[in-house]
Symmetry: D2
Subunit: 343 residues, 4 copies
């Protein structure tokens, strides 16, 4: 059994990790920390866990965490980088669901996250936890930077096009729509039901933190820098990301459907839909799957890719468990076979 600790489990990625890990056959949940809720039973905060999780939140305690085989950070940005060095030295393997280790360049990190990085030396060791790109490195990683939700959907959607260089990489457009849970379980006016419900808006058009992360990932895939316009939107639903991706084709002859099907033929969590399909976010609700469709409207020179994930699963907790499975040499799909909840 893998002894697992969770730091900061009071948000939506926290409860989602608990939902997945509580029934994972190879995991023993050892400790879950929260400064604000210490002493409270986890199932008091999240009544869906009654009867499934007996733990109570505890004060973050380095000694307890050092006893773990794996520690997940489901904390705000800037926390994991404080605790990671010590835990790594003790042999604990870390999966950070926040952004602390996603950008390889510490100056970029400081610019976008507004604070200096606490352990820039570790940035080189961290493996970006997108298994469809970095599977081999993840298996041996000590420290995995779990990708952001938007970056997961956008990278999986553009990947076959960039790998095969069939698209003009200077003007990529990612128009992405997220359910409100992407904003987390924080008391804020903007995400009240009465503000975000029955409403649709773009946000952060001048610049969103996932933009440098996506650009870095796409550049790595393409082998050279790419031009990307990224516009995120808030859509009045709880879970789900829908990325609509646009690019100009360099060559009118590509068989895009085959390209996508071949690229993802062996991927357990990427599902390329038949030609002409439109994936729905609910078709992946609660599941670790990314569903994709590729279109070329009116046979023109513009390719449109549609990608959906559950932002809390393939976009966060599920992908983190997938990474853990790889790191601990388990079957990659262990504990992640949930069928999406529809309706």
């Amino acid at each position: 059994m893998i002894k697992v600790g969770i730091v900061g489990g009071t948000g939506y990625t926290g409860v989602e990790l608990l939902r997945l890990l509580a029934v994972h056959p190879s995991v023993e949940l050892a400790v879950i920390t929260s400064r604000g809720e210490r002493g409270k039973a986890v199932s008091e905060l999240f009544p869906n866990l009654r009867g499934h999780v007996d733990l109570a939140f505890s004060e973050p305690d380095e000694q307890a965490l050092k006893q773990c085989d794996a520690v997940f950070f489901a904390t705000p940005n800037g926390t994991a980088m404080q605790m990671a060095p010590t835990l790594l030295e003790s042999g604990v393997r870390i999966i950070d669901l926040a952004a602390d280790f996603r950008l390889r360049n510490s100056e970029d990190w400081q610019r976008w996250y507004g604070m200096p990085h606490a352990c820039p030396a570790l940035l080189g060791d961290a493996v970006y936890g997108l298994p469809e790109v970095n599977r081999a490195s993840i298996r041996t990683a000590r420290l995995v930077a779990n990708p952001g939700c938007y970056p997961t959907a956008v990278q999986l959607g553009f990947m076959p096009l960039l790998e095969q260089a069939v698209v003009d990489s200077r003007h990529l457009i990612a128009d992405a729509k997220s359910g409100v849970s992407g904003a987390g379980r924080k008391a804020e006016v903007a995400t009240l039901l009465c503000e975000a419900g029955d409403n649709f808006k773009a946000y952060a058009v001048p610049g969103h933190r996932h933009w440098p992360e996506i650009r870095q990932g796409l550049a790595a895939i393409a082998g050279h820098p790419v031009g990307l316009t990224f516009v995120p939107h808030l859509t009045p639903m709880i879970r789900g990301i829908h990325a609509t991706l646009y690019g100009v084709l360099l060559n009118g002859d590509s068989d895009l459907q085959t390209l996508f099907e071949q690229r993802y033929a062996d991927e357990p969590f990427v599902d390329v839909l038949p030609a002409g399909s439109h994936p729905e976010t609910r078709s992946v609700r609660s599941a670790n799957t990314c569903r994709l469709a590729v279109h070329r409207p009116q046979g023109g020179d513009t390719v449109v890719v549609l990608a959906v994930i559950d932002n809390l699963v393939k976009g966060a907790a599920g992908q983190a468990v997938q990474n853990m499975n790889l790191m601990f040499d388990l079957a990659e799909t262990t504990g992640l076979q949930t069928i999406a909840l529809l309706p």
Copy 2:
């Protein structure tokens, strides 16, 4: 392995049965029928099942169904009673998720469902599939009438009060609220998002088909007829039933919290919350659990019980699987350990 057939799997209880049965360790899905969708892959209609269910819908075929150990009817009312006699004769065990076998009196059935009953003689054989009441009979039943969604929540909520006769049974009130999936996957104006969304209303106040079913169940529990006012409401969400139950206490001294906790101490799917709690429908979303709380506002003589279920799980497909587990001598919770999806 239990060889299972599903008749009429194109509605919401159908897809929910598939979600549960596809990962049930003791079930082999053998056949699923739909006249309207015959030939179509199940996963084409319900893309959440892609990669999990390989079946296609087939024309209802008695011979194929007779090969099954168990057949679930997820059909409109009036279908199961046409096919049940032949299947039962062949030794197939039947779980009907529709209303055909819920009322013991065929005249009542005709009055509320607007057609004569096709096999009134079977009404006496059918066991009402509420395990918390009829567990022993279900184990040996050939034909189980799976309870309605409202009746499940209302009966579980009133049961301890009526068994112990602590409440005036002449004026029971059940104010129940349902998510829209209770209306099924039918093309109707009233359940369009633009009609049912951001809106709340009561319906069927003059009389709802679940009223006689609930009255029959409560009378059986109480040992005598009861007076019941039942008002169902449509609430703008997908899944969930919340029943708010009212009764006048006969005796001010009852320890209601203990009464409920003791009654359900050994029930795997009924969870009595701590005193002062308010169960939320989302705390059981996708789970087979009924969560209950009992209140006595301002210490007065009125008891208020709050009961929540997922109408498609404990109120339909999940309870049907629970019944199947009992009928086939499996552990009652097999395949039903899903943790509710929150948020």
Copy 3:
């Protein structure tokens, strides 16, 4: 023109007052205050008001408010009672949308609102602003306590039954459901879209502040104390209250439909639906109307009344404007003829 001031206009009742008053033909909006948003244009906070309201929020300033003919308080509980005495002395007429002057007994107020009342002497002067009960007194009032949202719906629903004493007043039940805007525009976890969306729950069953207000009102209508169980619920929509009211009839011969129709025949904002109807909350969305239906299920001895209002209009800002119209001798419907927005 009536010169109007609004104290505390940053919440939902504030923006709703602005929506109504900005197009009211006899009103000049003079001042709107907010300590937290002072200096900010109102239309920056509420972009729906762009082009309609040019005011900016200002620091609360007694001198400016004293220049007004009428001042609306759209503040948290406990603010109006601090400022009312001085303003009243200056001849300003006050409509308080908070609870400060709703309860006639200052001890009750302190028990339910957790602070001593600042000007108990004014409680006797305040008129409870339910025009269907107190129209004459409102016309001459200096200080109107605008009713709560639940109390408006519940009182209008029970009123004909209690006035005519056709119902057992010892065991009245009000099962009420509110949209989330009833909780206000405050940053709180419980009313996030991800918490309150696709979810249904009761709350405050042990005791809600509207319970004493409703009981006081119903007792005044009945002429004697009444027994009331009040259970509020949160429903996943933005606006709207649906009250489902239950009582045991004392006399089986009452023609309830006629009773309701006659009682409200001359009321411009109460609409009794035809027998057998089920009012929907959206049928009053944005309108100042209360729609009612009365039922007697299965001809039994229990009466069921269904009442819907828009909690922000007839349950708050609209009723406040209705009161202002009465106080300033305008036609009662002035500025309140909006047709409900459906869908």
Copy 4:
């Protein structure tokens, strides 16, 4: 008073026309037709109209319609073109909210709408009713083709860029999101609350009927053909369209904010937000306003325009009334001053 008839008033554009026209100071509602609902009071179908509209639906009757000054068609595509010639001959002025007269080329119409056009000769007479483009022609038009909802938002968003030729018109992208009311009040599975709620998807990516309409309009604005990729999405809300528009700038020096502000300075129903803004659909809910914002993320060469409208108002019934006002020489804003409903 303008005597007005409505053909086919049982859909969402119908009830929205009634909401607007019932309080329009210069309109007398004379007749409203519906084959399916003839004889039924309009307010029975749409209870929000109780007390405001006394009409009943009548069988379509050419004689009655000929008595009108103006007739609105709120019918399915293909109906108005059958009745228009006769009514026009009688001197009735027509505003068609369907698509019958939107495309200037009858072959295009047949290709996209799947039926031959009944009166291609009238296509040349019809004026495309986008007042911001065709105001002068609308004033004298006998027959106005009211624009589609998506085309209104997309054209208003691209217009300043194309008029000034600051953008590469070969690769325009319109990523548009619509509330579900855009699909109309038809009984269909796809728009049930349980299908479209808590879900997001693209649709009609291979080709949507609004694509030729938008291309025709943009080409007219630009003075030459344009290349357009148009991807519509269904978002789980009732009303609202959000168009996110992308183009590559030809010249890095354009002051886009000023360009937009100047273009729309005199437009009563187009509101250009301050630089850096993100318009929300709810800020125009129930209002005839289009709100726009223009961005240039990271100062790059891609322009992003955000445009929101209420699809039933500026995208349908409101724009139709705006056109009527122009045709009958009324102030353009008459009856259209409603403030958007927020929250």
